[in-house]
Subunit: 162 residues, 2 copies
DNA sequence: GTTCTATTTGAACAAACGTTCAGATACTGT
DNA sequence: ACAGTATCTGAACGTTTGTTCAAATAGAAC
C-alpha cells in the first residue's frame, strides 16, 4: 500500500478514502480488467463465418492483451491472493470469455470447417497458446504486430482446421 | 519460513541449518526442478524422425509436468521473487529446454515435414499450449492422460505440419 | 471571509516477516 | 558412561506489513 501510495504521490492512509482494504483494491482492478476484456470483445463486429470469427478472435486477443501488460500480469499472478468469493467471480468472467471462443469452435465444428473433438479443451489450448505471446513480444522487436498476428493465426487455424 | 517449518514439523530457526536464507531455498527448489526436467528429457530415447520426436516431446512435457504440480506452480509464480542473478540462471535452464524443442521443429522444417516460418516462436507457442493442460487437467476427470496426450498431439501436429 | 465538506497527513497500532543465537536436546562413536 | 558433534528450540531482533484516526489542510458554496 505504501508503494502504491508513493507512486500516486500520497501517503498510505489516503488510499483508504478510495478502497476499504487492499483485497478489494486488487479485486476491483481484476474485475474491471475482465469486464473491459469482455465488453471490448463483444463490441467487435462478429462474423457468421467461423473461420473469420476465429481469425478476429486471435487478432483481438493478441492486441488487447499486448496493450495492457500490467493488467494482464496482475490478472494472472495475483489470482491466488483473491479471497475464495472474489476468485470465483473473476473465474466466472474468464469463463464467459472462454465460452465465446468455444462457441466459435463449436460453430466451425458443426459446419464441418473445424475438426475439434473437444471444443472446451481446444479453446483452452488456443487461449494458452495466444497468451504465450505476452511473455516474449516486445514492441520494436524483430517482428511487427501484424506479423505476429499472422504467424499465430496460421498456427491456430491449422490446429483446428479439418 | 514459519509455514514451511511447521509443515516439516520443526521451528523456523531450524531451517537455517539447511539454507543460508529464504532466497537460496527458493532458488535451489527451482534450479533442481529445471535440472530434473532437462535430464529427464535428455534421458528419453530420441527419434531421428522429427514427427516422432515431436510426438514424444508432447507426451513427455505433459506427463512430466502433471506429475509435479507444486514444482510447476512455483517455477511459474515465483520467478519474480528471484534475484536478478538467480533469475537469469533459471531462465538459461528454461532456454535449454525450449531449444531442444526448437531443434526438433527446425529439423522437421528442413526435412519438409513441418511448415514453421519462425521456429523460435513456434516452440514458444507449442510449450505455452501444452502448459495450458496444467490449469485444467485433474486426475480422474472426464479424460484419461492418454486421451489428453492424443488431443494435444493432434493439435500440435497440425499446427506445425505442412 | 466564513462555513462546511472532502481530502491528506503523520503518527501510531498490532501482526507478520526473515533472521540470529545461546542454550537445550538428540545422536554417534568409543 | 562419556565426550563430541549435529540438530533443534524458544525467544528475541529489527523491518515491513495493512490499517486506523485525530488533527491539519484544501476546496467549494454562499
Amino acid at each position: 500500500m505504501r508503494q502504491i501510495a508513493s507512486e500516486v504521490g500520497v501517503q498510505a492512509g489516503a488510499l483508504y478514502n478510495y478502497t476499504p482494504d487492499k483485497q478489494s483494491l486488487l479485486f476491483r482492478l481484476m474485475r474491471d480488467h475482465m469486464q473491459e476484456l469482455l465488453s471490448a470483445y463483444e463490441a467487435q463486429d462478429k462474423s457468421e463465418d467461423p473461420r473469420d470469427a476465429l481469425r478476429r478472435f486471435v487478432g483481438f486477443h493478441i492486441r488487447f492483451h499486448l496493450e495492457r501488460p500490467d493488467e494482464v500480469f496482475i490478472a494472472y499472478m495475483e489470482l491466488r491472493n483473491l479471497t475464495p468469493e472474489n476468485f470465483t467471480e473473476i473465474e466466472d468472467l474468464r469463463r464467459r470469455y472462454e465460452d465465446s471462443l468455444e462457441g466459435i469452435l463449436r460453430d466451425g465444428h458443426v459446419a464441418g470447417l473445424f475438426k475439434v473433438p473437444d471444443t472446451r479443451i481446444a479453446s483452452f489450448a488456443v487461449i494458452a497458446m495466444l497468451n504465450g505471446v505476452m511473455t516474449w513480444y516486445r514492441a520494436g522487436g524483430r517482428l511487427s504486430l501484424d506479423q505476429v498476428e499472422q504467424i499465430y493465426w496460421d498456427m491456430v487455424c491449422r490446429a483446428v482446421a479439418t
